[in-house]
Subunit: 333 residues, 4 copies
C-alpha cells in the first residue's frame, strides 16, 4: 500500500481513454486540434484570456515560467523548502541562465508579505546584487498547506508594488482548489499571479503538465525556450489529450477531492502526531523509528522526512480500504 508519493499512482481511466482516442494519424508537434485547443480550454476555465503550453514535468513548467519572469542577472524569491529550490537540481538556474533563488522562511513552506519583504529589503539596489525580479510560491505547499485567495492577493499586491513577476507552482493545484472550493481564477490571476504551473501528473495524468500564462504575451518566447529545452514533443497530441480529459467535467477537481479526502481521514486518525495542518493530500507525522517500522510491517509504504518524522501522500487512486486500514493502523500505534 503506497503512501510514498502521488507520482506512484497510476494514470486514471479517463486519461487512458483520451490517449487511445488520440491514437490516429495527426499533425506533429503542437499543430493538432487538441494542442491548439488548450488556450481556449484554459481561458474558459479561468474566465480570462490565457496562453498555455504543455510540458512533461512540473520542473520544466516551473523553470520555463521563471525564465519568462526573471533575467539571468536577477533573483527569484521563494521559500527555503520550495520544490524549485530543493528538488529540481538547479533547473531554475539552468533555464534562467543563472538567476539566484533568494530564500524566505515561513511555517509549512508558506510565505507571507512580511517574509518576502524582509528578503527584498535585504538586497541593496546596485549592480553588485542580483535584483529580485520574481516571486514563486507553491500552492498547495510542499507541506500540504493551501494559500487562500486573500493570502495570494496580498503577495500579488506586493509583487506589483515592487515590480516582481509572480509565479505559482501548482503541482498540487487541484488539491488546493478542492480544499478552497473557490474559483481557480480567484487564487491565480485575480490575485496577481502571472504564470501557473498547473499540475496534472500527480492528479491522474501520465506525462502532461500545463504552463499557463495569465499575461499571454509571455508565451511567445516561451515557445522557443520549450523547443530549445527539448520539451516540444513531436507527438504532443498525446499530452494535450491528457489535459483535456482531466479538465472535462471537473475531473481534475474530483480527483483532487478524493486525494484530499484520504489525507483528511488519516489526519483525523493521527491527532496530535500531525506536524502541519492537513489541507491537501499530504500528511506529515511524528513517528518514532519503532512506529514507522510497525506501519511498514503492516504493508504501508511511506517516506521518512526527518528524524522522527514521516510523510504520507494520498492520491485519487487509493482504495477506501487502504485508507481505512492506514487510519486504523495509525490510531492503534
Amino acid at each position: 500500500m503506497r503512501f510514498f508519493s502521488d507520482n506512484a499512482a497510476p494514470v486514471c481511466p479517463q486519461v487512458m481513454e483520451a490517449i487511445s482516442r488520440a491514437n490516429h494519424v495527426d499533425t506533429a508537434y503542437d499543430g493538432d486540434a487538441l494542442s491548439q485547443g488548450l488556450d481556449a480550454a484554459f481561458s474558459a476555465l479561468f474566465e480570462t484570456e490565457v496562453a498555455v503550453l504543455w510540458v512533461t514535468t512540473g520542473t520544466a513548467a516551473n523553470a520555463l515560467a521563471l525564465a519568462a519572469l526573471c533575467p539571468p542577472h536577477g533573483a527569484v524569491v521563494t521559500h527555503r523548502e520550495a520544490h524549485i529550490q530543493a528538488d529540481e537540481c538547479n533547473a531554475p538556474e539552468f533555464f534562467t541562465h543563472g538567476a539566484k533563488l533568494l530564500l524566505a522562511d515561513g511555517e509549512g513552506a508558506k510565505l507571507t508579505p512580511a517574509a518576502v519583504t524582509a528578503v527584498l529589503d535585504s538586497v541593496r539596489a546596485d549592480v553588485h546584487r542580483a535584483q529580485p525580479a520574481a516571486l514563486s510560491i507553491t500552492n498547495a505547499t510542499e507541506y500540504g498547506l493551501v494559500y487562500t485567495p486573500d493570502e495570494v492577493a496580498a503577495l500579488g499586491a506586493l509583487c506589483r508594488a515592487r515590480g516582481l513577476g509572480f509565479h505559482m507552482d501548482g503541482a498540487r493545484f487541484a488539491n488546493a482548489i478542492a480544499h478552497l472550493g473557490c474559483h481557480p481564477a480567484d487564487v491565480t490571476w485575480r490575485a496577481g499571479v502571472d504564470a501557473l504551473s498547473f499540475g496534472f501528473v500527480k492528479n491522474g495524468g501520465m506525462s502532461a503538465e500545463a504552463l499557463v500564462f495569465f499575461r499571454p504575451e509571455l508565451a511567445a518566447a516561451t515557445h522557443y525556450r520549450r523547443k530549445r529545452a527539448g520539451h516540444l514533443l513531436s507527438k504532443g497530441r498525446y499530452l494535450a489529450a491528457q489535459i483535456h480529459a482531466l479538465l472535462a467535467d471537473g475531473l481534475w477537481i474530483e480527483n483532487g477531492r478524493k486525494a484530499n479526502g484520504g489525507a483528511a481521514r488519516i489526519a483525523a486518525a493521527a491527532g496530535d502526531r500531525l506536524l502541519h495542518p492537513v489541507q491537501a493530500n499530504e500528511v506529515f507525522l511524528r513517528l518514532t523509528v519503532g512506529e514507522a517500522a510497525a506501519l511498514r510491517a503492516q504493508g504501508f509504504d511511506f517516506y521518512d522526512w526527518g528524524p522522527g518524522e514521516a510523510r504520507l501522500v494520498t492520491s485519487w487512486s487509493q482504495p477506501e480500504t487502504e485508507i481505512a486500514a492506514l487510519a486504523a493502523a495509525i490510531s492503534a500505534l
Copy 2:
C-alpha cells in the same frame, strides 16, 4: 493521406498495450523495474555493457549526449544540414552551455573523414578558437542516406586520432539498421560511437527515446543533467514500457523495414525525379509547383522542401493502399 512526417503516425498497438500493462501503482521517477531494466535490454541488444536513459524527445537525447562530450568552450563538428544545427532551436548550445557547432559539407547530409578533417584543420590550436571536442552524425541522415559500418568506422577512427567524442543521432536508427541488415553494434560502438540517440517516437513510440552511452561512465553526470533539464518524468515507467515494447521481438526493426519498404516503392515510381538515393524512409523529389498541387489535390500531404522540391516520409503505419496510390499518382505525373 499523410506523407508529411513519421511523427504524424500513430502509436503502434504493441506500444499502447505496453503502456496499459504498466498502468498500476509503481515506483516514481526511474526506480521502477521497467526503467531499471533498460541497461540490461540495451546491453543485450548491443552485446556490450551500455548505460541508458529514457528521454521524451530526440532533441533532448541529442543535446544531453553533446553536453556529455563537449565542454562549453569547445565545438562539435556536424553537417550543415544536421538536425542539431537546423531544427533544434539552439538546444545543443543550451545544454552544452554555449559550445559552437562547426559545419561540414557532404552530399545528402553525409560526412566523410575528409570533410571532417577539413573542418578540424581550419581550427588553430589556441585559446582564441573553440577547440573541436566531438563529432555528431545522423544515421539515417536528414536526407534518408545510411552510413555503412565501414563509413562510421572511418569516422570513428578519425575521432580517436583527434581526441573527439563521437555521437550518432539515430532518430531513424531503426530505418538505418533495417536498410543495412547489420548488427546494431557494427554501426555504433564497434565503429567507435560513444553515444547514440536511439529514436523510437518516429518508429511507433509515443514519447520515449533512448540515450545510449557506450562509455557507461558518461551516464552518471547525465542523470543530473536530465533532471536539471526537466526531463526526469515522475511516471517514467510509461516511457520505459514503450521502449521495451519496441525492442521486444525486433519490433523496432520490423517497423523500420515497413517504413523503408513504402519509401522504396515510392522511389521506384519516382525514377529520375529523385534528389537522393532512397535508403531509409524519406523520399526527396523534384516536383514542379503544378505537380505538387496535383498530388495534393488527390489527397496526398507532404512537405515543400525548396523551390521545385518535396519531401515525403513514410512510416510503419501507412496502409499498403496509400503507398500504392501515391506511387501510382507519381508515376502518372
Copy 3:
C-alpha cells in the same frame, strides 16, 4: 620590428599620463568623475545621446553588445571570418547563453544586404529554428576593408525592415574613421547601428574599450551583465582615463591615421602581392615561404595567414624608419 599585431604596440604617452593623473584616492567602481563623464564625452562626439560602459577587451564589449540584442534562443548573422565567430572562443555564445551565429560570406570579411538577406531567408520562421535577432559587422573588417556610411546604412535599413538589432565591432573603428574622413555618427547611429564596440587598445590604449549604446535603454541591463561577467573593475577610473585621453583633441583619429599611413606605404611597395585593398592598418600579402623567411631574416616579424599568405599590421607607434625599411624590403623581394 613587430608587424605582428597592433596589440603588440605600447601604450601611447598621453594615455600613460592620463593614468598617472588619475592616480589618487577616488571613488571605487564607476562612480568616479572620469567614468561618469563617458556618456557626455561620447554623446558629444556622436552628436546624439548615448550610454557608454568601459570594459577591458573587445571580446567583452562585443559579447555584451550581442547579449543586449539577441535572446538565447535567437541568432546573430555575421561574417564567416568575423572576430566574434573565429577568435573569441565562444564568448558570444557564453554571454548570450547559447545564441547561434549564422554565417554569411563576402569578400574581405565584408557583408552586403544581399549576403545577409540570403542567410535570413534560409531560416524558416518556426520554433525549430533559432530566429535571427541581430546583425554584427566589423568596421574596419578583419581584412582591413572599411564600410562606407552608405554601405552601413543599407545594412541598417535591412535590420530595421527585418527587426534585427545592429552591432558594429569597432576594434579598429579609429582606422575606419581615419580612412573615411567622415563624422563618426555617419557610419554608426545615422546608419542604423544600435551598439558599437569602440576599440582603444589597438589604438594606443592599455586596457580600455568602450561599449557605446546608441539606444541608451540597452545600457541598464548591461550594467548588471558587466558586473556579472566580472568586468566591473573596482578601480575603473584608470580605464575611463585612458578613453578620455584618446578622445581628447582627436588623438584617437590621429593615431588611426598614423597606423593607416604605415599600411598604405607598405601596400604601395607590395603592388600586386596584395590580397585585399588596404584601407585601414592591415596588409595581406602573397608571400612564398622563401620570401617570408627572407623578410624575417631582416628582422621583420609578422603572422602567416595561410599557405603563401601573410598578415602585417601597423600601429600608431611604429617609427617611420621601420615602415620605410619594410617597404623597401618588400619591394626588393
Copy 4:
C-alpha cells in the same frame, strides 16, 4: 579622508613604475615574458608547483575558480555573507552555468567544519538535489576575520573527506598573511586549498588579480574559460607587471601590514564599539546616526553597514595623520 573602501586607494608607486617599464613593444595576450613568468614567481612564493592566470577582477578570479571546481548541476558551499553570494551579481552562477550556492552560517563570515557539515548533510544524495562539489571561504573574511592555518586545514580535511574542491577568495589575502605572519603555503595548499583568488587591486595594484591553481591541471580549461569570458587582455603584460611588482621584495605583505596597522589603531580607539575583532584592514563599529554624522562632518568618509553600524576600511596608502585623526575622532565621540 576616505575610509570607504580599499578600492578607493590609488595605485602604489612601485606598481606604476612597473607599468611604465613594461611600456614598449612586446608580445600580445599572455605570451610576453612577464605573463609567462607568473607560474615561476608564484611557485617560488608558495614552494610548490602552481599554475597562475592573471585576471582583472576578484569576481572573475572567483567565478573562474568555481567553474573549475563545480559542474553546472552541482553546488558550492559558502558563507551567507560571502562576497561570491552577496556582491557579485550572480557571477558564480554565470561562470558555472547555474550551480547553486548553499549558504552556511558563522560569526564574522567565518565557516567551521561543523557549519559546513550541517549544510552537506542537509543534501540528499539523489538527482533531485544539486550535489555539493566545492567549498569557498574568504580569507580575510568579509568582516575582517582571519582563518588560521589550522582552521583552514580542518576545512581542507573535510573537503577531502567529502570529495569537495576547495577555493579561497583572497581579495585580502595580503592582509590575512600580514596578520598571521605564517608562510603563504601554510594557509593554502598545505591546508588543502585547491585554488586561490589572490588579490592585488586592494593592495596597491591597478587592475590585476591572480588566480592560483595549486592543482595545476585545473588551469588548462581555465585558459579557455578566461578567453571566452573576455578576460584575456591583449596587452596582458601590463597586468603581469603589476603582480610582479607587488610580489617583489614582499611589497604585498608590507602593504598588507600597513593597512592592517591603520585598522588596529582605529580599533584600539573604538574599544567596545567594535562589532568584530579587527584582524585585517576592516573595522566594523557601532555608531549612532548622530555619531556617524559627526564623523562625516569632520571629513571622514565611510560606509553605513546596517542600522547603527558602520564599516571603515584602511589601505596601504592612508597617511598616518588621517589614521590618527580618525582614531582621535572616534575616541572623542
